[in-house]
């Protein structure tokens, strides 16, 4: 049985787990709620900041690709002006 697929008012990526690349140190992964003028709206997202403590980006991405990310940010808007790319996590 197919369920709530009727979200025509939302962006095509609605409900899809995406990687949002930015022009800065931040790389976001989360479930895309929508893409609007203000930016990419993510739910249950996590972020990797280059240069901060924690695993290197490649290692963080590999773990995310295998198992997903912890929902450290329930709702976040990545500003459109900062976004340089949006890809499905499954395609990484």
């Amino acid at each position: 049985m197919r369920t709530f697929r009727e979200h025509e008012h939302k962006h095509d990526l609605h409900g899809i787990t995406v990687v949002v690349e930015t022009d800065g140190a931040e790389l976001w992964i989360g479930r895309c709620d929508d893409v609007v003028e203000a930016g990419v709206v993510l739910r249950d997202a996590d972020v990797h900041r280059e240069g901060e403590a924690g695993p290197p980006r490649a290692q963080w991405l590999e773990r995310a690709r295998s198992f997903g990310v912890w929902p450290r940010h329930r709702h976040v808007v990545v500003p459109a002006a900062r976004v340089t790319g949006v890809r499905r996590l499954a395609e990484i």
Partner: protein, 142 residues
């Protein structure tokens, strides 16, 4: 806020109809996972049409033939809150996602399929992933 039980009943039935045990309480999950003999599949069901709409048919397809887990259990994310939390605790250091699927062998988690590897795929693809996991970890049915 949990969904209406009436709304999700058909989504539960899709799995119960092929032999899944409904794990609606934390105690159900504890009892189910306490049996460490053989293999057990736990499906975290979900209302999400972006992924669950293909997850359930994929599971059904995968169970039609070939090796399969000895036991099948399911919790429903957003509905059976304590049971879902308990199941996710058993998944160890794997972030929560729904729908998702976990295969245990001898009480150890040996395979996991998170939500993002179900999204946008069709039932045949999901069934193929499950079938490969069953072939690797589960005994052939007599």
């Amino acid at each position: 806020m949990p969904y209406s039980p009436l709304l999700i009943r058909p989504m539960r039935e899709e799995l119960l109809a092929v032999g899944f045990e409904e794990l609606s309480t934390a105690a159900d999950v504890d009892r189910f996972l306490a049996d460490t003999n053989g293999t057990a599949l736990v499906v975290v069901n979900s209302v999400c049409g972006c992924a669950a709409g293909m997850a359930r048919p994929g599971v059904r397809l995968a169970l039609r033939e070939g090796p399969r887990p000895d036991r099948l259990g399911t919790v429903f994310a957003g509905q059976d809150l304590e049971a879902t939390a308990r199941a996710r605790a058993a998944f160890g250091d794997i972030p929560p996602s729904s729908p998702s699927m976990a295969l245990f062998k001898g009480g150890e988690l040996v395979w996991f399929l998170p939500r993002h590897r179900i999204e946008r795929r069709d039932a045949l693809d999901v069934a193929a992933d499950l079938g490969a996991a069953f072939a690797e970890h589960c005994a052939v049915r007599a």
